[in-house]
């Protein structure tokens, strides 16, 4: 019994030592690279997937039509869902709850896009794209503050 107790204590200690909490993120990407190379590029895939272009000859409705097109957009949506966690991992201040809320909002809105691709619902995908944009914009207004920098 005593041997079992020692074994359990050692096993638990070993497992805790391997927990993500004690390991710093190993990704070498900067926050700006994560934004540009992962988040923005995949958001572009979603934003570009459903739209209408109207000229004097009429309206062209653009939306995914083949399984391959839907899967490509699904993959970008899934990447954005996971990117919320990556943003939290990249946080400079682990106590910043608002950063976590914004990152979570990116994941939640991207989840709607992911669901839309699985349902093959172009209208829901379009609406989710708008919500993803607002998630991005809200965070940028708080942390990037582009307007204030430009006015300096």
């Amino acid at each position: 019994m005593k041997f079992l107790r020692i074994f359990l204590i050692l096993s638990t200690s070993t497992l805790l030592g391997c927990s993500p909490k004690n390991n710093p993120p190993i990704s070498p990407l900067t926050l700006q690279q994560l934004m540009g190379w992962v988040i923005d590029s995949n958001a572009d895939v979603i934003w570009d997937s459903v739209k209408s272009i109207t000229d004097i000859n009429g309206t062209t409705e653009i939306f995914p039509k083949t399984d391959a097109e839907w899967e490509n957009i699904r993959n970008s949506a899934a990447t954005l869902v996971e990117a919320g966690d990556l943003l939290i991992a990249k946080s400079k201040n682990k106590e910043d709850k608002q950063w976590v809320e914004f990152a979570t909002r990116l994941s939640q809105t991207s989840m709607k896009a992911l669901q839309a691709t699985q349902d093959k619902n172009k209208d829901a995908l379009f609406d989710a794209g708008g919500e993803i944009y607002n998630a991005c914009k809200a965070c940028h207004d708080k942390y990037a503050d582009f307007d204030k920098k430009a006015s300096k």
Binding site: I46, W47, S52, D55, G129, K137, H140, A150
Partner: protein, 143 residues
């Protein structure tokens, strides 16, 4: 981000080749626009892009009398934000409409800007847009 560069390339493509059917899907801040200035263009709507993250309207017209008409790219917030702001729909403004547009120009002098108000010459009906104000209410609902 690549987006400001992408927008400039789009404007340059329109100016040189007259190509409108290009994606306007760039997400960017509003800092490229000089919000302290308001210009007015009188012309004709050539193309409407109802797309995320920014609705875009191409207008061919003139800023001052005697100019050769040129195509300008007018940007707004997302379709969802515009609809929530009121009045807008994807068919509110159509190609061929004669319009007057008040806008904040691009800082770099390219032919583009942030649309503030578009007035239909035939009816006098107008639609307003404020890319910053119309986005703000939709940014606070963080859960």
């Amino acid at each position: 981000m690549k987006n400001i560069k992408q927008l400039k390339m789009l404007i340059a493509s329109v100016a040189v080749f007259g190509i409108f059917a290009l994606p306007v899907n760039a997400h960017h801040s509003t800092t490229m626009f000089d919000h302290s200035k308001t210009l007015k263009i009188v012309g004709t709507v050539k193309e409407v892009h109802w797309t995320n993250p920014h609705v875009a309207i191409f207008v061919e017209g003139i800023i001052t009398e005697g100019q050769e008409p040129t195509v300008w790219l007018m940007e707004m917030t997302s379709p969802g934000n515009l609809v929530r702001a009121g009045g807008w729909s994807r068919s509110a403004v159509k190609p061929g409409d004669k319009v007057t547009v008040d806008f904040s120009p691009l800082r770099d002098g390219n032919k583009g800007g942030a649309l503030k108000k578009i007035t239909l010459a035939d009816t006098g009906k107008f639609y307003t847009a404020d890319i910053r104000a119309q986005e703000s209410p939709n940014l606070e609902n963080v859960k």
